[in-house]
Amino acid sequence: MSDDAELIKAAAAGDVKSFRKLYDRYLDQVTCTVGRYLGPGPDVEDVVQDVFVELHRSLDRVSDPDAFGGWVYRVARNVAISHGRKKSNSVNFVALQSFKEPTSQWGKLKAREKLRALYVALECLSDEQREAIIMYEIEGNTLQEIADATDTSINTIASRVRRGRKQLLKLVKRALSTSQQKTGEKA
């Protein structure tokens, strides 16, 4: 019996300490899953909260405690998708001006800025294409896994990924040329 199984059982019976242990164990995973769907922003924390509330509600329905990580992922994904994202009016193309790994707080802020630009570009895709791109290109799932998770045929998923890639590439290219123009103007 896995460690998770005992904690799930106790947490489902109302033991808050056990739920806190599950929370500590899965907080990073949930934050990353939600963040990958929404991009960095103020709503990530709220959605993470909703995910854990939802997880707590569903603890007694966990049929395979050994695969709790997968269960957590699915709940996080569903909550993040249902949360959706508010559309932004402007794409911060300048954020793509340069790319450098974050090494400090300053770097982290810049990295967030760039990521936001990526997610703004992703918002220009259809919901289906965006989901396919996030699951395939960012989360690294296989086409078959995405097809299973979304109850869609593998061909449909492949087509969504293909179209999504094309669209995303177009947006990023445009962003790059815009930022180059701005750089040129400043120089």
Binding site: F19, Y23, G35, P42, V53, G107, K110, L118, V120, E137
Partner: protein
């Protein structure tokens, strides 16, 4: 021999390249192309870099989460979910404990004692085991809540000779305008500022919660399966828990506003009737019977609907939570929770509760969240105003101050092209945290900016 690789081919294979899904032969041909094509190199680096960052980024890249505070909120939601009287004291205690049972960093003994005594007092006034307190925080959880805020000028109804309202005229909207230059934008956007003085009305119906201004007049006309509020005059803020078996309708000036889904705010003004839908969907039935569905993010010219901005729901949520906590304190004269009907509630009992339930001014954290949203929406000037206000609320040596200073500098530098202001914030950062790991990069940044700003800086070589 393979055909020469062109930029177009690289673009087509860009994603496969990142996933290492191209053959060795193609790969070497692409490498050859990349060695001479800077544009393709840049595209691959940036696109791949962004996707890798999203894919492998640390949780802190997406959000700065205070783990204990977040768990406290989750626990509150869960406790209210369960709504079991004997679980609540556990809740009170465990909020202040970490996973190993030790007191957490935010453990406030006085507050804890106050909360415990609050619960005990409440228990003593009725059956300690059988009287569940009102699950206030279920509102804070807002898992499926709908909020409607409606303003109707009281004089609108002083003329009883016009029982049916005119159709909504199409004219320039005047309400909930966002003006960055004249007033802090969130004061016009956020409902807590639109409803600074509201009292709550007790209700036996847990799916609906009403906040009213003192001069408001309204009636509850509930029917089986349908909650109806008819606003006659004044202002009212309604929180409605969707997902119930019943429907909810608000009637005002001959219009019927029906909750269709999620969270939204509606503002009706007498001078320029308009409906502002921030988020979610409402269906509006005009006096002539025609229906229109309005969704947040859409603008309906016909109905003179203006989408001003998204409400910071989290801020509203937290304000309510804070108000709830205050209302739970033993000294607060709470409304009689067992009152069966809102319409029968005596109005004179309300004022004492007004102060307690009035939403609080936004905290530094809230202001930062709103600023982040503003950045996301491309409203950089507003973001700096919000951050500057947040800065006033933090201690000089707080980590939050460092983050705010850097964010302000970044926005001024990158988005507003104002290197002088950016330099000012960076200098403030350096004077407080000269040994921060970011300090070196900031000094170089300052030197680069001093060139842009055409000013001398003795720190620069």
């Amino acid at each position: 021999m393979t055909a020469p690789i062109l930029c177009k081919d690289v673009e087509e294979l860009l994603f496969e390249l990142r996933r290492d899904e191209v053959s060795d032969i193609k790969r070497s041909a692409i490498d050859e192309h990349l060695s001479t094509c800077g544009e393709c190199q840049e595209l691959i680096t940036k696109m791949g870099g962004l996707l890798d960052m999203a894919s492998d980024g640390e949780p802190s890249l997406f959000a700065d989460i205070d783990e204990d505070a977040l768990f406290g909120r989750i626990e509150s939601s869960i406790a209210d979910d369960a709504a079991a009287p004997d679980a609540r004291l556990d809740d009170v205690f465990t909020v202040a404990r970490t996973s190993n049972g030790e007191p957490g960093p935010d453990f406030d003994r006085d507050e804890l004692f106050e909360r415990i005594t609050g619960n005990l007092d409440q228990s003593n006034t009725a059956d300690p085991l059988r009287s569940p307190r009102r699950p206030r925080r279920v509102w804070a959880a807002a898992v499926a809540a709908a909020c409607i805020a409606v303003f109707v000028a009281w004089w609108t109804f002083s003329d009883d000779s016009s029982p049916i309202a005119d159709p909504l005229p199409v004219k320039a909207p005047t309400v909930v305008a966002v003006d960055d230059t004249e007033a802090p934008a969130e004061e016009t956007k956020s409902p807590q500022f639109e409803f600074p003085q509201l009292s709550t009305s007790p209700s036996s119906d847990e799916s609906i919660r009403l906040f009213t201004a003192e001069d408001s007049e309204y009636r509850r006309l509930d029917e089986p399966g349908r909650s109806v509020v008819e606003l006659e005059s004044g202002s009212i803020l309604i929180e409605y828990l969707t997902g119930q078996d019943s429907k909810f309708e608000l009637k005002a000036r001959g219009y019927t506003i029906t909750v269709v889904g999620t969270v939204f705010y509606v503002t009706i003004d007498e001078d320029a009737p308009e409906i502002t839908v921030f988020e979610g969907t409402v269906r509006v039935t005009s006096p002539d019977g025609s229906e229109r569905t309005i969704t947040g993010g859409e603008i309906s010219d016909e109905l003179n609907v203006q989408i001003s901005a998204y409400v910071d729901l989290a801020a509203h949520r937290r304000a309510l939570e804070e108000a709830d906590q205050k209302a739970e304190a033993p000294s607060v004269e709470k409304p009689a929770l067992e009152e069966p009907s809102v319409a029968e509630a005596p109005v004179e009992e309300e004022p004492e509760v007004v102060e307690e339930l009035a939403p609080q001014p936004p905290s530094a954290r809230e202001l930062r969240r709103q600023a982040l949203q503003a950045v996301h929406q491309g409203e950089f000037r507003r973001a700096t105003t919000l951050l500057a206000r947040a800065l006033e609320k933090t201690e000089p040596d707080e980590q939050a101050t460092a983050d705010i200073l850097l964010e302000l500098a970044r926005i001024h530098m990158r988005e507003l092209d104002e290197p002088e202001q950016a330099a000012d914030y960076l200098n403030r950062f350096l004077s407080q945290w000269p040994d921060d790991p970011a300090a070196e990069a900031i000094r170089s940044q300052l030197c680069a900016m001093s060139t842009v700003a055409e000013s001398d800086d003795e720190m620069c070589p």
